[in-house]
Each structure stands twice: as C-alpha cells, then as structure tokens.
C-alpha cells in the first residue's frame, strides 16, 4: 500500500469534500494506528455483536418486507418503536460515554466525529428511501434476510454493491 494512502486514506479532488461517515479510515488518526493493530481473531468480538444484532433483527421482524410497508403506510407502530427505542438507547449510551469519559477495552479514548451537511444527504436519502420501500431492506436487514434463508436477496445485495460502485464512479459529477 503506498505511503500516502496509509497516512491520508482518501484525498478527493479539492472541489469535493469527504461526505461519507461510515468509513472510519477516512477521518481517523491513521498515523498512530500501529499500536492498535491486532491479530485477526480480535475481530471475532464484532461477529459476536453481529450475531446478537442479527437475532434481534430477525426475531423482531425488522427484516420483514411487510413491516417496512406498514411503516411507510402508517399502518403499524412497530418499526417506529424499534428505531425510536434504538435511538434512545444509543443516545443515552453516547451521553454516558462522553460524561464519564469511558475508554475502550484497550484503554483507548473513544472518538466521535461531527458530520457536515451536504445536499447528498437529501438527494441520496430520498433515493435510498425509494429503494428501502421497494426491497423492504436497508443494508443491515439485507444481510439478515440472506441469513434467514431468502436466497434471492443475494441478487438485491449484488445490485446494491453495483449501486454503490456507480455512485463512486459518478461521485464528482453529482451535486453535493
């Protein structure tokens, strides 16, 4: 991997700022990552969190196409309850982490990043909303639907990867 990529993982053309908030390597301290490099099996703990998360998704029917249709037609409170409770618990947890300066299990400071507004959140958000109502899945449930045995959803997932790639290809021409 070239040196420049290690230090500054992405340098877009100056006209377009970084708008992605899920990819940690874009905006974290990559210079002193060395002491946080672990053997691969350290990642298994994230798989355990994923297993619990996947069970919750499936058992609460978050992955149900019908539940998503009900949500967007205001026919059921269920999904609003799930998302609302998750946000409340997440908000409380982050407030406590900040207040008590909770560290990671490796003693590292927990970092948060502020997001900046750009028009992509509206345009992209609307397009994602269209797709969500059609497939009944946001990216998390997409994986859970496959795990729960709905094989055809693999096609949806491949198409979603294609959509992501297409966005990357046209990114600098799109309004942000």
């Amino acid at each position: 991997m070239p040196e420049i990529i290690n230090k500054k993982p992405i340098s877009f053309s100056p006209s377009i700022a970084d708008t992605d908030y899920e990819v940690r390597s874009l905006d974290t301290e990559c210079i002193n990552e060395s002491h946080l490099r672990h053997k691969w099996y350290h990642n298994l703990k994230y798989a355990v969190v994923g297993i619990l998360f996947g069970i919750a998704f499936t058992k609460a029917e978050v992955i149900s196409w019908f539940r998503i249709q009900e949500m967007f037609r205001l026919q059921s409170f269920h999904m609003y309850g799930v998302i609302g409770t998750a946000i409340a618990i997440g908000m409380l947890s982050i407030a406590l982490i900040k207040k008590f300066n909770v560290k990671t299990i490796y003693g590292e400071q927990i970092k948060f990043h502020n997001k900046k507004f750009n028009k992509g959140q509206v345009y992209g958000g609307l397009l994602f909303g269209f797709g969500w109502a059609m497939t009944g899945a946001c990216p998390g449930p997409l994986f859970a639907q496959i795990g729960a045995g709905f094989g055809v959803v693999i096609v949806v997932l491949i198409s979603a990867v294609g959509g992501t790639w297409t966005y990357g290809y046209f990114r600098e021409k799109l309004p942000h």
Partner: protein
Amino acid sequence: MIEFIKQPWTWYAAGILIGLTVPALLILGNKHFGISANLRHVCAIILPRNISFFKYDWKKEVWNFFFVVGILIGSFLAAQYLTNSAPVQVAPALLAELKLYGITDHSSMLPHELFSFSSLFTLRGFIMLVVGGFLVGFGTRYAGGCTSGHAIMGISNLQVPSVIATISFMAGGFIMANLILPYILKL
C-alpha cells in the same frame, strides 16, 4: 425460556438490543456503527479501478465484515432454531391492498410472489429487487450512511445532518410506498 424467545419479539426488546450495538462497538474498539459502508468496502476490494472513492486501506475496516458475517449467522440461527411456525402478522389494511396486486403469501417475512427467482425474471420482480437494490446501494453512499450510520448512530450522537438524512430516507419511503409502488406492483 426458549419458548418465550421463540415468539416474535416486541419492538422495545429489539430496540434495546439494537441500540446497545452502538456502545458495544464503541467500547470494544472505537468502531462506529454503520452497515452500508460494507458495500463500499466490497467495491474497494474487487473493482477499485482508478476511482478515488474506492482507493483506501480497506483492510482496516475488516471488523465490519466480521460484524455482517455475525448478522448472517444470527439471522440464520433465529430463523432455524428460534422461530415458531405461525404466519407473520400483517396489518389487515396492508393485506387487503396487497391482495389487489396478487400478493397473498404472508407465511414468511418476504412474500414469495416478489422474492423468488421466478419473480426476478418478470418486469415487476426485476424492478423491485434489482432496481430497488441499486437504489439502496447508490442512495446510502450518496447520503453518506444508512439507517444504522445516520438514523441510529448519527442521531444518537446528536448530528443535525443525520436528522436531515433520516427525514429524507423516510420521505423517500413514503413517496415510494404510497405514490409509486402501487403502479409497480400492478405490473
């Protein structure tokens, strides 16, 4: 106990567990909850070409693949071992509407009339699955996150752009489900 787990869970039980994912990932290793980023990592691995958006050190993000593999395993376990065979509960008004479009199967969480390989080769199935999936991938990356990254992680961290993104997700969903989807389902 196991019988209790086998029933469909209430919204608050699931909401609490999903919400706890946020501090769990932060405390286990400073990871920010966000699932759609995995789609980007896949692009970065298999077809980065010369696109700057896909040229980064994806190896630092492998934790997220472990997380989604966990989701696959968890949903498999839930569907195989933690389920009862009762049909999925669906609002009567929705069932009545779907019947107009020939969708009557609610024995599982995805209706077979739409989510099957035979449906994939019809115009309706192609639009719903392939175009729908494309919009999920394109839209989440354009928005810089999905329901997990923006709606749950972002709003939990009191980020106004995440509130705007979430409102846009919901607006898009309402427009599609109520105004456009009836025409697609009629195909």
